[in-house]
Symmetry: C2
Subunit: 254 residues, 2 copies
């Protein structure tokens, strides 16, 4: 995860400003879509991977979760998270790659716009599947593979006076360096196939996916979101650990 | 389905020429990816929706399926299919929308590059889920939603001397008219979310998805496929009807 980037004082200050101004996609598009896919969390033990300033951790605690553990590699983020003080909540400075949990110890794992920073996605999903109790859920959001595809990552380009979102390099699964908020962040582009296949290969079942786009209400509030109707900025994935073991895979044709 | 188009003599002749020259994506990209996801078909009762000239029907019969029924709205296509003559195979002229089958009567439903012609995809998937026996499979390929998104559908556009595949109008799920093989075909653009959600809503579980791209061997044989590394031309979806009923959906947060 890009801890160095989020702990860079100038980058961090610009990121905070964006979040405080609510000018990103978090409040208007990403969080509502992620929350729609959440199960009932009353009494649940929850892990939030890449919890940032703890917004989602506090929300889940307020919804009745028994305990929410937020992990993040950035000590500046965790300082903000901890400053809120909330019962049933704890934080741990750790990267998704190095973090470990006892098998069968959580009912829900969430991750909001963090997994595209993780180099070993398949390994993480495999470990999450072990951390979950039977019946437990994994719900995460990432930047949409359509948007992370082009190398280097570009938000849009102008051609013949019109704005375009070209898809390119889709099959080339490798890190992308993106200029963002006056700094440079490294994201890992993965095909949708790779994201979903890792979930199924870990024995989880897919419960839902979503590619949220602005509705009329959010467009009235924020006309600047209109472009997200043209190409999907986000992918939300929900998966579940079956109570019974999944059926054995069907053998291929001879 | 666009029966009128495929039964237009001139369009049909151009389509046949493309297939005989193997200049489309079928033999090099689509069929291998679809076949990789097939279950063992020995003794299976199979339905092929939009079977065209019966290539996949004959393949499945050769692999040991007990019976393969191919349906297609084009009588020109079915005439070619029937001309091959094969045991354990039958054909029926029908559109996917009007076709009906007894509940629990097939082990496998396949569909190769046909469902983007179907207007009521959700309704069809719901009916397929009823036609399948417990443990049965649905495997289909469609043009990738990235490619059907722009309205009107365009394969690529030239900008600053380079070829681009712009994604546009992704959230606008509606028919697209595409100029293809000197004619016009109508395809139905749907988001990946819509394709997958209909499967889960019908009580099927997702077994696999794929977005095949050309490997080194196929690129050596056909350098013209290189562009499909840049954006995914196809989406392959595999789903299964559980032997036991799926768990009830988790209630949303209050």
């Amino acid at each position: 995860m890009t801890e160095a980037q989020y702990d860079d004082p100038e980058f961090f200050s610009r990121y905070r400003q964006m979040r405080l101004q609510r000018s990103g996609l978090n409040e208007d598009l990403e969080q509502p879509a992620l929350v729609r896919l959440l199960p009932r969390v009353t009494g649940a033990d929850v892990l939030d991977i890449g919890c940032g300033d703890g917004t989602l951790v506090r929300f889940l605690a307020d919804q009745g979760a028994r305990h929410v553990l937020g992990i993040d590699p950035s000590h500046r983020m965790l300082a903000i998270a901890a400053s809120h003080g909330s019962s049933g909540v704890s934080y741990c400075r750790a990267s998704a790659e190095s973090f470990a949990l006892a098998p069968g110890s959580v009912d829900l794992v969430v991750s909001s716009l963090a997994l595209h920073y993780v180099a070993d996605y398949q390994g993480l999903v495999r470990r999450v599947a072990q951390w979950l109790r039977p019946g437990g859920h994994l719900i995460y959001s990432v930047e949409h593979p359509i948007c992370t595809a082009s190398n280097p990552m570009t938000s849009w380009h102008e051609c013949h006076g019109d704005r375009h979102w070209p898809v390119d390099d889709y099959a080339d699964e490798a890190p992308r360096v993106q200029s963002w908020l006056g700094g440079q962040v490294t994201k890992h582009h993965r095909r949708i196939t790779t994201l979903i296949s890792a979930i199924l290969a870990s024995g989880l079942t897919l419960s839902a996916i979503d590619e949220p786009y602005p509705d009329h209400d959010s467009l009235a509030r924020r006309p600047d979101l209109a472009d997200h109707h043209r190409r999907p900025p986000l992918l939300i994935v929900a998966a579940r650990k079956l109570r019974r073991p999944a059926p054995t895979p069907t053998p291929p044709l001879p």
